[in-house]
């Protein structure tokens, strides 16, 4: 077996023997790896290999569905995420979904601050304004929407909506941001904007993203992992993996032989 931990010192996330099963069918099998703080880690692999399943296990989204079982350990700063309340975990691990999903009944402002409002966390108005501005500036959306903060979020374009959703996740100052193919529903211009954004965001946040697009992984990720049929085939620095894949399956995938 190849070294899947990739010699990362002081990892923010340590995944140990993580398995996820739908009914009795394992979609992710015994994945073990460490994730580096303040870096972009890309999860790659062909359709149905368990990329999203693995990502969604990290903020315990699977608990919504009774037929899904998760085994193993995930340590976030040395605390097992399965031992902490899901609500607390999810506030530390923001998530952005494949399709932009702003809350349709809320304004742009309320969407960004939704984490506070919905959780009943009382914050002064001036502080709220500050959080909204900072989060929207972080996603480079402030300039575009600062005059229409009270309009509904659903009036924005797809790319803007997705950046709004990232801002919503950032508002809580999470440690990790999980992104599930965040650009797959967007056009190339919007995709480029989000990619630039992620590179900028890794200064303050740890980013774990699922991507279907090898080019994207090569452009923006520091570490990549290649999943195949639910198994972790290879994990390491993106540069090394793309120039010198160790496993023949990784090579075949990267050269477009399957996937």
């Amino acid at each position: 077996m190849t070294n899947t931990i990739a010699d990362i010192k002081n990892p923010i996330l340590s995944i140990r023997d993580l398995s996820v099963a739908y009914d009795k069918n394992y979609a992710v099998k015994n994945v073990t790896l460490d994730i580096k703080k303040h870096a972009v880690t890309a999860i790659m692999g062909p359709s149905g290999c368990g990329k999203s399943t693995m990502l969604r296990a990290l903020n315990r989204m699977h608990e919504l569905y009774e037929n899904i079982t998760t085994e193993g350990q995930v340590l976030l700063n040395d605390v097992n995420i399965f031992d902490m309340p899901a609500i607390k975990l999810r506030r530390q691990m923001g998530m952005v979904f494949q399709r932009p999903n702003p809350f349709p009944t809320m304004s742009i402002y309320d969407n960004v601050i939704a984490g506070y409002n919905l959780n009943g966390i009382r914050v002064k108005k001036s502080q709220k304004d500050e959080i909204v501005e900072r989060s929207l500036q972080d996603v480079a959306l402030w300039g575009e929407v600062k005059d229409s903060l009270l309009k509904k979020g659903s009036f924005l374009s797809g790319g803007q909506q997705q950046r709004l959703c990232i801002a919503r996740a950032l508002a809580f100052n999470p440690e990790v941001i999980l992104l599930d193919e965040p650009t797959s529903a967007l056009d190339p211009v919007a995709t480029a904007k989000i990619e630039d954004l992620l590179v900028k965001l890794k200064e303050n946040y740890t980013i774990v993203m699922v991507t279907h697009n090898m080019g994207q992984a090569a452009r923006i990720s520091d570490y990549s992992l290649f999943l195949y049929m639910g198994e972790l085939v290879e994990y390491g620095k993106t540069k090394n993996m793309f120039t010198n894949p160790k496993d023949p399956r990784t090579e075949q995938y990267l050269t477009g032989k399957f996937g």
């Binding site: 903020n59 989204m61 999810r90 999903n101 809350f103 939704a114 919905l118």
Partner: protein, 295 residues
């Protein structure tokens, strides 16, 4: 080749156009047959009822037979109005809604949350059966439960209870269907922000599906507005305005029934029906508008 050419040469277009026109005419004729009852009903009500409609009609109680006989004999409009019925209907419908909406919405949420489970399936089936129970039977049940044992006599409460049972299945179904239409990703987005489940339901799901819920409620109300049979067995009727839930109370459909049985009051049937019909039409149009705006 020869045969194909002769086939193509034959001009069938005239026949096809004729056929097309005949079918179109048939569709228009049948559509007219479908909408004609409602047009005939409304026009009849307007023609026969508009003379009685005035401010007095809305704010005065029903006249007694003697007043009506005198007015009819003198060729005048029957004095008085149906305020007791209007107030009674509004009172009973409000109380019925207050009973049925919370129970119905909560049951709808329960069904949505427990798709495919035995208890949920059972509840859904029972609720569907409830929708098919004849309203007179619901009136009888309410008579047994409320009139005989709670208010010890005919009462507005008994009327409201029978109406609320009638509304319940509609609200349950519309709540469940509305929640089902909300994309799962929206729920996940809220959960991913660390929002507790009950708040996701109350602050994200319900507001997002609010127009759907409202439509179900309005259609439920428009259905019970015109119910007469259960009220005959429960609310009974009253010739004055009554706001006491434990006392017999009038309602517009009850008054129509009473007017029908009193040959001197015939004129009031039409105006009362017109008013009731207008209320139901408005509710239906409003709910149709809400559905249209949602799309």
């Amino acid at each position: 080749m020869e045969s194909i050419n002769t086939f193509l040469d034959q001009d069938h277009s005239a026949r096809r156009i004729l056929k097309d026109k005949l079918v179109l005419a048939g569709i228009i004729a049948l559509s007219l047959v479908t909408i004609s009852p409602i047009i005939l009903i409304i026009s009849k009500l307007v023609v026969k009822g508009y003379r009685q409609i005035s401010l007095d009609f809305l704010i005065k109680n029903t006249p007694d037979s003697y007043e009506a006989i005198t007015a009819v004999a003198n060729g005048e409009i029957i004095p008085g109005g149906i305020a007791n019925g209007i107030v009674g209907t509004l009172l009973m419908v409000s109380v019925a809604s207050a009973l049925a909406i919370p129970i119905g919405v909560l049951t709808g949420i329960y069904l949505y949350e427990n798709q495919g489970k035995f208890m949920a399936n059972l509840t859904r089936s029972v609720s569907d059966i409830l929708q098919g129970v004849p309203s007179i039977v619901l009136g009888l049940i309410s008579y047994l439960w409320i009139v005989k044992h709670v208010t010890m006599g005919y009462s507005a409460l008994a009327g409201s209870v029978s109406m609320s049972i009638m509304m319940l299945p509609m609200i349950v179904r519309s709540t469940e269907e509305t929640l089902k239409m909300i994309p799962q990703t929206l729920k996940e987005a809220a959960l991913a922000l660390g929002v507790p489940y009950h708040k996701v339901l109350l602050r994200v799901m319900i507001p997002t599906g609010f127009s759907g819920l409202l439509t179900g409620i309005l259609l439920g109300i428009s259905r019970i507005l015109g119910e007469t049979a259960p009220l005959l067995l429960t609310a009974l009727g009253s010739s004055i305005i009554n706001l006491d839930m434990t006392k017999p109370t009038s309602a517009i459909p009850l008054l129509i029934w009473e007017f029908y049985n009193d040959p001197n009051m015939i004129d009031l049937i039409w105006s009362s029906s017109l008013l009731l019909m207008t209320m139901i039409l408005i509710l239906n149009i409003v709910s149709k508008q809400i559905i249209a705006n949602r799309r």
